[in-house]
Symmetry: C2
Subunit: 335 residues, 2 copies
């Protein structure tokens, strides 16, 4: 998502970030089924039309890739080299997962719920389909959806047509696309995307901590105009309103600060209306540069749980969860 | 556009390629106007609703960036490092430009028609808005549209909302997005995007040849499954139908050939129905690998004007119009 798209409350399709591990599968809605099995009383197999006939909910959700910010780390972990654009906010429509699991009769022995997508590829030397699991208490959250619409239209192929899991507040990898199977497990899932990928480690030998909910982050629409090749930005001296968005999977956004001197001095930004809990919150701050020359603009969010974005990037082997403050160098000109 | 999206006759929004020189402008439809001026009898200013009230045409058009294939050149010109994904096919709905120019009374002295977008940035050290011109005989072609819909919906912001020029058969830079002014000129336009950018040169000092229509190209959906990090592909031995698309801005596609040995031996692919003239044509070819090991798949298109894709990439300073045959290395496995 190019950062000027922060101007939209809901990110238009095609501007929302995407991370596609393998190829986008081409799925024929007529042959597709969602199966629910494993430790349940009654196995279930549902067509898309049957899912659409179930109770429907629409939630506006900000979703961010766990690797957003990776390209700013040094040494840079080898994976998708996101700067800060791996985010977006969409209106997801679907049926709550909880109702479906209750109808299938989730057994109390189930320790995890596994979500399997249709997409296939090789990762870590292992052929696999993309699969991720959740603890039952997370999977049974009221806000967890099996989504078949994005922004009021059927899911586009690249966002998981015909069905994806949406787990508000969690990093993007949780929201399994091209979902075709839900399995209640008696043992924790040890597949690649859970046991190897998406863990915070300093060394390859560590078991590491799994990534879960999004850390707080604020981003601004970079002011001024860019250079095509270098992407360096130029801003004319004079009054300027800097606008942006902030979000956290750990609590409501309570504060956003803005700095026009690289983080030495901070001013509180004005916050827009609180979100319903899952979408980003808008903010703005007045800035009036007088002197021509280079400056560095920064913003920093704090959530209701007391988490604040760090000034320095927290390095880890996979390059995940780098929520260091955004730094936007611009050159002020007098013309 | 990830190449598996070649499976779609019409590319879903969000999978169609995009090249955005500067920032995507945020345009309020209520304040936006299209103005037509310069060497015309009557200056015109139109609201979007007025353009929508005019005669409407929908055309299915394949559009490709002039820089598609740049990343395969050596030495690699510094610009957007496209591999082969800078293409897409959309249904564009709009009103023919010709009718509007006739109503404005295009004067015979006009030597070029200039199209100015709202997007602003710096390129070649020069602050500018994106502007490109066409000779009157091209601008007056029946197929040239002022498009306000893509795939049946209002243009997304990233594709030029509220209006873009669509010139079927020409490379992407011709199709000016966020269009706000059309000017009939008495002298050829000498702005950056016409006189500096988008020209074929071997040396910086040359005037160079302007890029116009798309050279022929065929692309296949790469078979098998990818490795997440390396994108190397693995295909199981056994029968496989390789499918793809081909297009040219210089004439209808008349032939597509497929090679499974790096271009030493070629077989004719089966062509799908001819397109209406502006959209890509589908093709497919049977391939049955027996021996495990690496192979290189290739495809090559020929158009009705007798243009065939070259085996070697034609180098130029800007890295444009590299329509060398696609080469897809895959490893055949016995499992």
């Amino acid at each position: 998502m190019p950062l000027e798209a922060l101007s939209h409350d809901v990110t238009p399709v095609g501007l929302h970030y995407l991370l596609v591990h393998y190829d986008i599968p081409l799925i024929d809605e007529k042959e597709w089924r969602l199966s629910v099995g494993g430790l349940v009383d009654r196995e279930v197999s549902l067509k898309l039309a049957e899912l659409r006939d179930r109770p429907a909910v629409t939630l506006t959700v900000t979703m961010e890739c766990a690797g957003n910010g990776r390209a700013a780390l040094s040494p840079r972990p080898i994976s998708q080299p996101w700067l800060l654009e791996a985010v977006g906010t969409a209106e997801w429509t679907g049926t709550p997962l909880r109702g479906l699991l209750e109808e299938a009769g989730l057994k109390p022995e189930a320790v995890e719920i596994l979500f399997s997508g249709r997409d296939r590829g090789v990762e870590g030397g292992e052929a696999q389909q993309f699969e991720r699991s959740l603890p039952p208490e997370e999977a049974l959250g009221d806000e967890v959806l099996l989504a078949y619409e994005m922004n009021g239209s059927p899911l586009p192929p690249q966002h998981g047509f015909p069905l994806r899991l949406v787990v508000p507040g969690w990093y993007g990898m949780t929201n399994v696309k091209w979902l075709e199977r839900i399995t209640a497990l008696e043992r924790p899932f040890s597949g690649y995307q859970q046991a190897q990928g998406y863990r915070l480690r300093q060394d390859p030998g560590e078991e590491g901590e799994p990534l879960t909910r999004m850390l707080p982050r604020s981003l601004m629409v970079p002011p001024g105009i860019p250079d095509f090749g270098t992407r360096e930005r130029t801003v004319r001296a004079g009054p300027c309103t800097v606008r942006g968005r902030a979000w956290s999977g750990l609590g409501a956004i309570e504060r956003v600060e803005f700095s026009a001197d690289g983080g030495a001095a901070w001013a509180d930004a004005r916050l827009g209306p609180p979100s319903d809990g899952w979408a980003w919150r808008s903010w703005e701050c007045e800035w009036e540069p007088h002197e021509p020359g280079p400056v560095e603009l920064c913003c920093r969010a704090t959530d209701a749980a007391g988490n604040t974005q760090p000034l320095e990037a927290p390095w880890n082997l996979g390059g995940y969860a780098n929520n260091a403050v955004q730094r936007v160098p611009v050159t002020v000109t007098s013309e």
